[in-house]
Structure formats: C-alpha cells, structure tokens
Symmetry: none
C-alpha cells in the first residue's frame, strides 16, 4: 500500500509472471501460481492471482482459491492478507526460528560473529527470548556423546552452566565443545573420547578475565549426511 508518494506504475509492477499460456485447467494454474509465489517469498493477493491468470474479475480468482482450499490443496489463514499457504494436514505448524550460523569464533568476537553470520539455521520449539547461535564442530573429542566433526551444534548463549551439561567454551582463543564438570572448586572440560585428556581450570566461576569462558550450552545437535 504505497500511498501518496509512490507512483502507480511501480505499484502495479510485475510478479514472477508468465504470459498467457493455457497449460492445464485454470484451477491447476492458480495452484501452480500460488506455489510459485510462495517459493518466491510471499503468497499472492487475490488480485495478483487475477492478473497473473488474466481474469477480468477479482471474484474469478477468489473462487478458484476458495475451491482449492475446499479441496484441501491450499490452506488459508483467515483474516490476513495474503493468507493462502500450503496445507499441513491439520497438525499445527512448528514455531520456526532462525539462528545465525557462525564460522569461526575468535576471542571476544562472539557478538560480532553473531552480527555477521555465515548463514542461517531454522530451529523450532525454542523460547523466543533465548539468544541462540550455531557452530560447526571441529575435532573428535566428543564422539562418545554422539557429536562428530562436521556436526552443527545449536548453542544457547549463557555465561554459566551446570555440571554435566555440554557447553561451548572459549579456551585460548578457540571455541570448543566439551562436557562441563564442576568438582572440588575446579572447572573441568571433559571430552567424551578416551583419546583426549580433560582440561582442568582453577576458578569455579568463569568470566571475561579467566582462562576459560563459557559461551553457551549446546541445546541441539545436527548432522547432514551427503
């Protein structure tokens, strides 16, 4: 809705469009067009469907859309503009959240790395106020916990953690994944691989000034196979 300042020529500007090409029934072409628009970033309005299909009346497009909803080939979010979606069989849609995926984390540069991520990861079912990021695991020190090199870990940003939790810690300017152990006033980063030795630190409380700094807790592990 570009009010006063926006020229109308821009307002009517193109969609992902194809000229008139009667392929399939009108209804099938409506469905195909909605799918294209959804893939292109946003579902279309009824009038965009009308123009794309060459209808002379808005209602023609709307009838096709409603018919597709009745057939179960489309879903609709009532009361919203551009409310047509792909049907999900009645089960509720997961709450998807995008999490920045970081390449390399340097000392102190966590915040900068989050600001300029290498990519984005879709994660579900997590609190909206949690600060999350994702890292790719290097090394085989956690294979015993089912975390292999190349796996992606989703990390909840926090400065402290409890005994037994798997954390991402910054040790000597390098981020590593280990299991945290708190014993006798010591902080131990415990690998889950007999070939690796635990890292033991003195202070029981981590902070910006200590040798070790906890960046966060691992809340999810992902692995892509080929």
């Amino acid at each position: 809705m570009p009010p006063r300042r926006t020229p109308r020529s821009l307002a009517k500007a193109p969609l992902v469009r194809d000229p008139v090409r009667p392929r399939g029934t009108a209804r099938a072409r409506v469905l195909a067009f909605v799918r294209e628009q959804l893939a292109a970033g946003a579902p279309p309005t009824v009038r965009e469907v009308q123009r794309a299909l060459g209808f002379k009346a808005v209602e023609s497009a709307r009838q096709h859309l409603e018919a597709l909803v009745a057939e179960g080939k489309l879903a609709k979010e009532p009361g919203r503009s551009r409310g047509y979606r792909l049907p999900m069989g009645g089960t509720p849609l997961p709450q998807v959240r995008l999490v920045p995926q970081l390449g390399r984390v340097q000392a102190g540069g966590l915040r900068e790395a989050i600001e300029d991520p290498d990519g984005w990861l879709a994660v579900e079912g997590l609190q909206c106020d949690e600060e999350l990021f994702a890292l790719t695991v290097r090394g085989e020190s956690m294979t015993g916990a089912g975390i292999l090199p190349g796996d992606v870990v989703v990390v909840r940003r926090q400065d402290t953690a409890r005994d037994g939790e798997i954390v991402v810690a910054l040790v000597r300017d390098e981020a590593t994944v280990k299991r945290l152990r708190l014993r006798d006033g010591q902080v131990v980063l415990q690998p889950e691989n007999p070939a690796f030795a635990p890292l033991v630190f003195a202070p029981a409380v981590s902070g910006p000034d200590t040798e070790i700094r906890i960046l966060g807790r691992v809340v999810e592990v992902r692995r892509r196979l080929a």
Copy 2:
C-alpha cells in the same frame, strides 16, 4: 562492548556516537522477527511487527523497518502489503521445508503414516521434489555412528540404497536404522555397535515381497538436549 554501527542519519554520523544499547536492540529484534516470518511462509505486516515487539504505535515498527531498509538489511517491494524481503546481497535465507514426523511405522503403513503425521519438522536446503519424513530412533545399535536413542532422523523416501549408506529398513514389521552393506549378493544391515549383530538377507534387491524392505536413506540426524 564494541561500538555499534551507525544506522541513522549518516550525514551527522561523525559527531554523534552511537549509544550502547542493551543486548537485543529493538531494531535487531525487528530484523530477526521479519526473518523468521519470511522463513515461516510470508513476510509480516507492519502491525504484526508492532504486536510482536510490543510497540504501542504502528509507526514505531514502521520506522524500524524503514531504517533496516536504509541500512540495506531489508529490501522492500513498494506498493505491496507485506512487502519486506531480504536484500539480494545479504546472506540467503534457508528454504525451509516442513517434513512429517512419524511415530511408529508399521508394515506397509508408511504412506498412511505420512498422510497422518504426529508433527512437522522444519528442514532446509533439500530438493522440493524429494519425499521426506522423520523418525525417532529407538535402540542403541547405531551409537558408533553418532546416532543415539531418541535422536530424530530425517529420511529421504527411496526403495533402494547404495553400499555404505545409512538407511531405514522395515524388518519384521519394525522400522530400524542401520548401515547398508551389499556384499556377494547379500543385503546386510550393519549396526554400528559391537554389542549388536548384523542382519543378513539373501536377495540383493529389496521389494514388497522380500523379508527386508528399504524405506529410505537417512539424510539428517538431530538431537535435542534438554
């Protein structure tokens, strides 16, 4: 904390130092919300941003959105409702796809189970024409491959697989995850745990009539930690 970028009034930028804001600035949270909505299927309206961020005025949300466009972190299609997109130069959003998550797979009931899933999983970067589903792993037979009980595997539906791939196979009315080995005309389902024995089958080609039937190939492994 490092100095923030200067988003506003670039002409006067040198004189005015940017104030240090609390962790999740409002503008950053607006950007995150738009990204999430785009991943969920459609960009939000200005008023949806307003409600999500808790603004009491629509204009507050709109100013943030326009500022993000000026910063180049968002793009806008003028003249359209829900016209905010990601800029072409930025990091691309993952193409999120929803995959049905199945509870228990009975013999022959895969198609029915897919039709009526227990839930949906957001998966990215996969071909749109692939038929995918998700399963929860039972048993410890694949711990050596980093697949633990309770993990969720994303499976690409296919009847055959190649040697060495991790597959989901239907054996005696039960779906199991194993590594596939094809040797000397035999089909071997190889566990990755010394405590388990491989399952050996005669025919090199699986089908509806044989003892074993391959349901698909594991393409992703996920594990949630508390």
